[in-house]
Symmetry: none
Amino acid sequence: MLAAGSAAGLSNSAFGQNEAAAQRYGNATRGLAPLKITDVRIVHAYPNGTGFSVVKVETSEPGLYGIGCATGIRRYKTLTTAVDEYLAPLLKGKDPDNIEDIWQTVNVSSYWRNGPILNTVLAGVDQALWDIKGKRAGMPVYQLLGGKCRFAVDCYAHASGRDLKELADSVRGYREQGFRHIRIQFGKYGSPHLSGEPDFKKAGFGVETDEVVEIRPYMKIVPEMFEHIRSEFGEEVELLHDIHELIPPIEAINLVKELEQYRPFFIEDAFAPEDIGYYKILREQTSCALAMGELFNNSHEWVGLITDRLIDFVRIHISQIGGITPAMKVARLAEWFNVRTAWHGPGNTSPVGHVGNAHIDLAIWNFGIQEQTDFRPETQEVFPGCPTFENGYMHINEAPGFGIDIDEAVAAKFPLPEEPWYRPIVRRPDGTPVRP
Amino acid sequence: MLAAGSAAGLSNSAFGQNEAAAQRYGNATRGLAPLKITDVRIVHAYPNGTGFSVVKVETSEPGLYGIGCATGIRRYKTLTTAVDEYLAPLLKGKDPDNIEDIWQTVNVSSYWRNGPILNTVLAGVDQALWDIKGKRAGMPVYQLLGGKCRFAVDCYAHASGRDLKELADSVRGYREQGFRHIRIQFGKYGSPHLSGEPDFKKAGFGVETDEVVEIRPYMKIVPEMFEHIRSEFGEEVELLHDIHELIPPIEAINLVKELEQYRPFFIEDAFAPEDIGYYKILREQTSCALAMGELFNNSHEWVGLITDRLIDFVRIHISQIGGITPAMKVARLAEWFNVRTAWHGPGNTSPVGHVGNAHIDLAIWNFGIQEQTDFRPETQEVFPGCPTFENGYMHINEAPGFGIDIDEAVAAKFPLPEEPWYRPIVRRPDGTPVRP
Amino acid sequence: MLAAGSAAGLSNSAFGQNEAAAQRYGNATRGLAPLKITDVRIVHAYPNGTGFSVVKVETSEPGLYGIGCATGIRRYKTLTTAVDEYLAPLLKGKDPDNIEDIWQTVNVSSYWRNGPILNTVLAGVDQALWDIKGKRAGMPVYQLLGGKCRFAVDCYAHASGRDLKELADSVRGYREQGFRHIRIQFGKYGSPHLSGEPDFKKAGFGVETDEVVEIRPYMKIVPEMFEHIRSEFGEEVELLHDIHELIPPIEAINLVKELEQYRPFFIEDAFAPEDIGYYKILREQTSCALAMGELFNNSHEWVGLITDRLIDFVRIHISQIGGITPAMKVARLAEWFNVRTAWHGPGNTSPVGHVGNAHIDLAIWNFGIQEQTDFRPETQEVFPGCPTFENGYMHINEAPGFGIDIDEAVAAKFPLPEEPWYRPIVRRPDGTPVRP
Amino acid sequence: MLAAGSAAGLSNSAFGQNEAAAQRYGNATRGLAPLKITDVRIVHAYPNGTGFSVVKVETSEPGLYGIGCATGIRRYKTLTTAVDEYLAPLLKGKDPDNIEDIWQTVNVSSYWRNGPILNTVLAGVDQALWDIKGKRAGMPVYQLLGGKCRFAVDCYAHASGRDLKELADSVRGYREQGFRHIRIQFGKYGSPHLSGEPDFKKAGFGVETDEVVEIRPYMKIVPEMFEHIRSEFGEEVELLHDIHELIPPIEAINLVKELEQYRPFFIEDAFAPEDIGYYKILREQTSCALAMGELFNNSHEWVGLITDRLIDFVRIHISQIGGITPAMKVARLAEWFNVRTAWHGPGNTSPVGHVGNAHIDLAIWNFGIQEQTDFRPETQEVFPGCPTFENGYMHINEAPGFGIDIDEAVAAKFPLPEEPWYRPIVRRPDGTPVRP
């Protein structure tokens, strides 16, 4: 320590007492004998028919590594190529402690930024670096972010059904598990069961897997759904709904206004990211709580929505914007405007991503709610240390770093499918492609 | 660790390998056997005729404590009372790791917030908690904030003189020390040497210590000063100036416009905090770089200036807004708008405050410049581990926490003066009180 | 008088008739043989379990002194230190007649301003100076402010209860006393009786005194409360409610919109002071009358709300902004926008503060309503000259100055408690600290 | 006093000590045995070819009366009629202490308000009531307004000349008298000497007394005038100029921009009151200090200019807006925006008006400058107690009230002329009437 200080030209002669403290609390010399990144890899696993991708950053200290979620965009092989061919060579040899510097320099290393591929692999690296830092500190990452300001992470569950009864059963199940916040949807998104063979298919337009969304039936069924669930479950449950950008902006405005009477906790994705300019109009007409963000990867998508207080919950998918580092910055921005977080956390986010969400959720003041998933046995086998749920709250593992690991041997038992995945095209009855 | 996980109902059976990591990197069980705050005290010292106040937070772990700067407002005894009578009883027994929760709850514990006294002592506690967290992590605090993204902290020095020659000599001295950024002022602020006995004093109005600022002489001398220093030192040096709110808003606008031609690095405090509404007008008329903030203690003072991009550098005095935690939030807010930091750091900020500034400066992307001071021998004796300067850069001690300590025995040799300090009242020639 | 005029070089030879008037109405020579402040002290009393702090300013004229309220922030000892160590030495020897100059110069004498401690003691001095001026003038202070434009001060009373019946009984009691305006609340604030042990306490998070507020139960009970009281008491009574910043901004908007149908006189504190940016959104969606201000201590909190006509009543706690002088300036600002006053005046404001409110209330055009308290016998014993209430109107004593005094001997019988007071931390069920 | 208190139902038993104070400082019972207004009259005088009108309010207390300026609009007989036929009957019997109430009720007593006739007589009453209140208090009125915050009233003088030499001589004269601020004008307003017989006169259009203003010659001569005076008198003198609304808005913008380089203290009346919407455009293009206001009598003329910070000095003619009461409200409004006062005070304002200006000037924080006149011997004979000037500062008489009186016997020696006065019509060369 003294030597270190001297090497840097600092006058440490009077610093004896702190030196002892330094020895007591850990090695303080990492600035001088820095750790190196020795490898960066991406590991994929596909348990239960869902693909999870995780970046692993290894260091020059034996056994010290970190992992970070790079799950979201399902262009698995592209991610692998991005990591193997571009990220790994760039990062090897760098000091993993300089997270901010790595983030900033990687972010512009391809010149063009903001994209789902490059942000995702950067996010994987970023979270892995925080994992490493937490392990070195001997602390869960939320401690580095300022410590806990709540005891656990309150979550919302996804209820759905093909009809009102199925949906009510689903809601009831989650209520019995203790959830206080439940998202209600018919079918998956929209209400495909309402439609027969769409006109465009009859006409031979499009492909087999194309889906249809009809505007009016959807706008009719959603209020009915709220009416039914509210009347059966009363005021004690918080209800959420995701429009998923399935209807034109002006009709989304009409729908949200109609839903206001059911006091939703929030209505999500009234508009596509291309249409966020409509929020100003929506906000002038309703005080229904609004959430948006899972598709965002460009700061112009969220900064104005937050500073103009046009949304109440920011729902960014953290790996889409580059990881823990930028997500914390979004949270800090949003706090000044009392906009709360509701990080994206669906079933196709890796458990590593879920614990990333959760560590932030525990630490920031302006946490709102967390989207929840449950971790199936195969998933837990791949990812030792998965969060657990009790009474609607997510609890994380208190181990250093993010408290989660990936068992690569088990992961290898769940290889990615050969076939590429495509999001089904959604069309209007005449075949017009929708951008949900 | 395992027991801890089990107690929380988590399934950790597969977590064996992380358990080893936890043992390797430190005790990870602090959520379960938390540290306690055992004492909170304020220590004052007055070496070299400057008062420095530092809050010391002690914990249940022998030898583990943190210190934080509570220097700025020179109401020393008021700060002592606030700490001894109100903060200490509130904080004893709390877990020092929950910094965010402590900040939020202390901030509203007196119901009214935002003030220079209560923010200052809260800031002392906040920085001390980060000091403790850094020591526990075995890391300098900047590591907890994301690591370094610059090698050292570029600083600006304060040159001044009673005439152009003296000022040029002062600038030359700092250039020889390597400073690239130099603030130039005549006299201290304004140009008191230009005035004789002001009219109000002749009339028996005001008191002996009152000072006078004349608008036009000040507005005339400042461009001359820039002209002289630019012509002597060329373009290689960055020049700064602090108007210190001494002239009416419209004349500040005129002065800044005139100074634009000398390419200042920034012009500081064109307006009093009550008058920040004038920035919109100023910004429309000049692209001269602008800095503001040392007097701010309410979020409505800085949020709009940043989000409307009305200033280029935010110069908050960190202990005035409550410490490291809110300062990092300001920095994060400002990053979204590419507004840079230039934290207030004059000679009457304690070395503990200076290292607080410096740790943030090293870690954030949108660092701009740091106001510098030098630490005299007596000050260094009181505060072992003071930053050092080399070639215009501030270097901090790399020890865990903030790497600085207070030697209370030495501090006791420099007691506070009995006499209270008052900022001299500044008046116009007719006696009108100015609010600088 | 003549001599005085001559000394100042004025031609007063023709002024004989006014000289007589001067002799008739008092000594007019104070500019020439000015009074001096000889002492400034703070006196605390704690009758009925409530702390009242009053600043006493004594002058060089035997028996001539003034008192001013320095009650609000319960950091009593900090206030004492601020007065004894800083204000008193600064003010001794100054002319108590120059109130504006004293206010302006004291306000910046610590450089940093706006805080709850320093504003409060400044307010105490300011009101005391007006008290002195009134006594010298032989006039109640409201006369100096322009005279009466109403015969007495219409007030609102605080009704509350643990259930609808208790609340209705409370309302009935106030109606029988003649009050036309009644604030209705369940429990104290929020509706703590609705909740059992909150989740965070079960989890061992927080401390014993922490309180919980649940958003939906509160939002449900308030409209029911209005419905019940309206149906029982009809349209003749004006009803008020204080949200006390207990729910998130968007839900406050929803609640205010729902309450509009019950025609409240005003809804108070929909948002925390940090969140006043939400008023623009609220104002676009409802014409429910709005009040805000008790937590304000920085001009940027109220100027925009008034000039943008975003609130209908400004509810500043006068000692929080520095006293009668700035409060009159707020009132004058608000008059241009027909924003009315409803000064903060709860039970824990001293009677001196209440009469300060009342003198302004009597004199300004844009008075709206006054928050009322009743003065218990012990309080009246400490403060001879307390206001009285009749038929819902507050009447003040017509003696010169503010017409109220403090009996220090009696005050000494009610010493402050040793234990510091803290506002109980309010949390959401998950432990999130709320900032009310 | 006690009886008074008892009569009002107040509990005063413990109030003995204040009762003594009440007796010491005057009769405090005026709320109970109020003074009455017994007469309201207007007195005109025409010394030195200038008409001065003063309202005199007499009371039920022998010898106690007040006077107020009702000078400005030269419709003397209309003013007399307004006072005699309407104001006097309304006011007789009212309590002169209730100034605010009288102002508010008189203001709407004709239903239509804001006009120069009715505002002027209301102003006369209002100032007279403050005069009475000051006399009753035994205090100069500035004491009731908060006391002095400057030792005297800094003034600007009017220099003018038919050519540059004459103007320079005029400036020199005022400099020698000590004035630091000097308004410079060619001719009276505009530059009539530049023109020969205008075209419209050659064509037989208009009447003999019509004047002409040519846009370009005026725009050419004003910068030359500034250039000349600046080069002769240097930077030490503050220069002002009054455009007097003589040129079209866009040319006023061009002129002000050109004058910016000469650093005027302010440029007055760039636009007619009908054209204040141009200030936004002007403000975006120049930081030249701006003043406006002498023609204002409607709040929409000044409120927005102040709250949008579009002018730097508000120059209201106080009797045009209704007197001291509204003028203080304008001053308080302007203080929040750091807009300073420069009350209108030309030679055709009565000395009573000048002392009204001065009492406000001494008391408010945001005083800027005062327009000055000098009082000729005959005027001083009519108005005993006129202000005096020394070194460019106006000093007022320190007697109670406004310290000025009117000697009606002397006034009668200077009767109004029989002929009505008309402001000369100003035209463009083609005869177009200008609205200056």
